[in-house]
Symmetry: C2
Subunit: 195 residues, 2 copies
DNA sequence: GGGCAATCTTGCCAATGACAAGATTGTGCT
DNA sequence: AGCACAATCTTGTCATTGGCAAGATTGCCC
């Protein structure tokens, strides 16, 4: 006969969409205060359920973060695929995703936070990796010396966009770059391509 | 009349070098299990002191991480300065530092873990930033269009080495790159310079 | 409509970070 | 030498947390 605190929907024993609610709350919390700035119990309170409810869907905290990373890689692959075939555009989409979906991005590249061998996660990650590598292969300018240079070029492109995104998110870049990270990244990434 | 567990030195009420001991233990723990894979009490136990002893030197956990970041930026500036004036070498020193001093590096670029406005920290960070920017200015190839392009080039160089280091540390890069990250980074970074 | 699995709850425990108050020791001043 | 005082470290305590166990409630399928 206990009542629930949040109650957008009428109170019932079964939440209905707890897994998604907790997942979304986690992503939001990570984006705001980092991967360590919240607690499982806090998310449960915010969702209007008991402190042990999330455990049924995710096991433990690492399980929740694994689910965040897996969904993150799926959205990531979709975002990169949607950017077209031009590597420059894919790179900008990379930066855009990191900034717009910070809550996912901050977990995806941190194997100490999630279970990196999770099947669902590895599948989504392999898909995203495939988009990245395919994008590079489509640019011939990058392979002057054979297949070995092709991978070097892929890693260079990956590094520069990943580095820019990470530096932007950490606030390390100069403030006068403006408020639009994608616009700021454009000439930076361009430096890798123009010769 | 209590005795101490660790006791490399004969037990005494005053540890003698607790601040340094805890700091070093924290850096080691972060390198091994990440910024969240340990506890203040665990470090205190390992140092052979009571659970509240570290608080006197660092205040709270954030204070300890702030000290780690500050010392990290100091070592970082020294490492970059020691690499000479060639931007390529500075970039490799950047990667080398990230890998060799992972415990520092993982905290330095994570403002949600430390107090980014700490005076000692900002001073050390400004010094490291100065080395980076100075290194870029010394390379004229990067400024074909005026002072604006110079900063773009600096950010590009910074992004590619930072991105490579972060991807390497996260284990995201292909395994067949070999075990030496600096050697693997050399041709990647080189792609930014050769035209 | 009855069994059954999924979902969620309450209750509990050890560990943690933070704080308060007290004990011990080194240091400087007279 | 002796004494006040500050620095350092300890014990004790508390709220919060993650995780586990056991039980309650509900939806679903035969």
């Amino acid at each position: 006969m206990t009542r629930y605190a949040a109650a957008v929907t009428p109170p019932s024993y079964h939440h209905g969409d707890l897994r998604r609610t907790i997942l979304a709350a986690a992503v939001g919390a990570i984006a705001e205060t980092g991967p360590a700035g919240w607690s499982l119990r806090e998310l449960a309170r915010r969702a209007g359920v008991s402190h042990a409810a999330p455990a049924h869907h995710f096991g433990d905290k690492t399980g929740l973060l694994t689910a965040v990373a897996a969904e993150g890689y799926t959205l990531f692959a979709e975002a990169l695929e949607g950017a077209g075939t031009d590597l420059h555009d894919v790179g900008l989409a990379y930066v855009r995703f990191a900034v717009d979906h910070r809550g996912y991005f901050e977990v995806m590249f941190r194997p100490d936070l999630h279970r990196a061998d999770d099947p669902e996660l590895t599948a989504a990650r392999d898909r995203a990796d495939g988009v990245l590598m395919r994008g590079v292969r489509d640019v011939r300018d990058f392979a002057p010396g054979g297949p070995g240079d092709e991978r070097t070029a892929a890693i260079a492109a990956w590094s520069i966009v990943h580095g820019f995104a990470d530096l932007w998110l950490s606030g390390a870049l100069p403030a006068d770059l403006g408020g639009d990270p994608v616009a700021a990244a454009r000439p930076v990434i361009g430096l890798l391509f123009t010769r």
